[in-house]
């Protein structure tokens, strides 16, 4: 099995994340799409670590996981607070700031 297939898979997952971010309306789902993007990068990093024969990429994946966890803490706090105010987590409803 060539490692390149994992890179393609990772690119597909990343693209699904991007499209989900742009198309979905619920802030939680939008945020999950960002997490999907981060995890697809992890797959790329681990594959490149295998291809390059160095361990750096695997260690970087751990860093990414920690950062993603911190981002969840901050993100959910913000999304929950706006949900409690508006009774909705739709990103379309947040439209007071424009032009």
């Amino acid at each position: 099995m060539t490692p390149a297939y994992y890179l393609f898979l990772s690119a597909i997952l990343f693209t699904i994340g991007v499209l989900g971010f742009l198309l979905r309306r619920n802030a939680i789902v939008v945020f999950m799409c960002v997490e999907l993007m981060l995890n697809s990068v992890n797959l790329s990093l681990v594959t490149f670590a295998r291809m390059n024969g160095t361990l750096d990429g695997q260690i970087m994946a751990f860093f990414v996981m920690v950062v993603a966890a911190a981002e969840v803490v901050v993100g959910l706090a913000i999304i929950v607070s706006i949900f409690r105010t508006r009774r909705s987590a739709s990103v379309d409803d947040a439209n007071l700031l424009k032009y």
Binding site: S44, F63, I79, T85
Partner: protein
Amino acid sequence: MTPTDIPAPSIAYGPLWPMIAVFLAAAIGVLVEAFVPARRRRPVHLVVALAGLTGGLVAVALVARNHHHPTLIAERAVAVDGPTLFIQGTLLLLGIAAVLLLGERSLDSTGGTFVAAAAVVPGSRGERQLTASSTMQTEVFPLAMFALGGMLLFPASNNLLLMFVALEILSLPLYLLAGLARRRRLLSQEAAVKYFLLGAFSSAFFLYGIAMLYGYAGSVDLGAIFTATGTVGSNDTLLYLGIALLSVGLLFKIGAAPFQNWTPDVYQGSPTPVTALMASGTKVAAFGALLRVFYVAFGPVRWDWRPLMWGVAILTMGVGAVLAITQTDVKRMLAYSSIAHAGFILTGVVALNRSGLSGSLFYLLAYGFSTLGAFAIVTLVRDADGEATHLSQWRGLGRRSPALAGIFALFLLAFAGIPLTSGFTSKFAVFSAAISSGATGLVVVGLIASAVAAFFYVRVIVLMFFEAPAPDGPTIAVPSVLTYGAIALAFAVTVVLGVIPGPLFTLADKAALFVR
């Protein structure tokens, strides 16, 4: 394998002290939050934060004196060189002014610009009671200090992974800070959601770019990527993908078009002291990182990315200058002006020579202080509903308060680049650097954009001084010494750099050499 088989990395802690001081103050701030009684927290936080920043500034001065040779420390992860120290010094000074603004609480009759309790639902009875009380969410101080620590680390990292971690350290606290305004809670929360989702989106792109460059060079060290670009036979697709994706993340943070859409919304919705911190600090730090990545790692492949950056710079200047004309809100107008300025600084980045680097450094310092001062003035013009940010409310402000309107006019003239202000010298520096590198077309566009931008700055000045004030116009709040201090610092820097720019130019020129 026993643990002793893993060699411990050797870390020279001395040059890291600017960052250690700030992170230490942030950590002490968390302890203050836990152990100091609520009514005494704000002054204690203020002292801790200012001590940390001043300590950091002293450390920068000591490092600059003792380390004449630029070095890479902590296993090549942190670069201690001229641009790092210059930008860290700028950020620490801006941080001191921003913390002074955060600590201000005599503007509002109830206390400060920050929410009493962020978790209480706006509009509920509990919220009304809390707003009437004088409590405030004092966590803003440690959050701002963590953000400032990340900003110090961001332009100093010589390793893309560390750069990513620093990017998140600076961004995550800012996402929270954006949502903590005392008045207009809905706008503030909306700004936080938008900033958070778009910021997370862009950092995912940044990270994918890092993965591609790791695949290309086998390392995320900027020096290793530089070496790899000089060899033939590597997979160039990965390199180009990496440069493009990494640029998306960096250009988002500096607010360059086409990634500028978040800027006006977030600047308008956030509490104004936080906007001041974001508009000055984040921009300086992100430009520092952008300069390092493009000058250190991507220099050899400049012919591939420069045309694209030309396009981005032209688009940014155009979008910023043209859309600013149509704005009716002061904070939004300043946001679009910051986009236009990102474009002007990008002309210095594209120049890719020593004078471009020193010009950009000079520009960042000058612009950071003018924009911080402008937002500080915005906090003072108030009506019953908090800050009066609609431009029509600023009509005739010069008759009501000549000093305040005069200082604001000076900042606007500095943005427009009128001689004898810091804006003129900095624009001159980046444009002349761009011409010397052969980017004359870019400079022509830059001059046209400056002229367009000057139009709306002057329009605000005319509005303030030559129109009759509205009868139910806003009042000018009398701040405490904190806001006065911040405005005085910004005013002094703007004037001094306009009248005698020589010494700082020399300093920026001496600093303008990246270590590889």
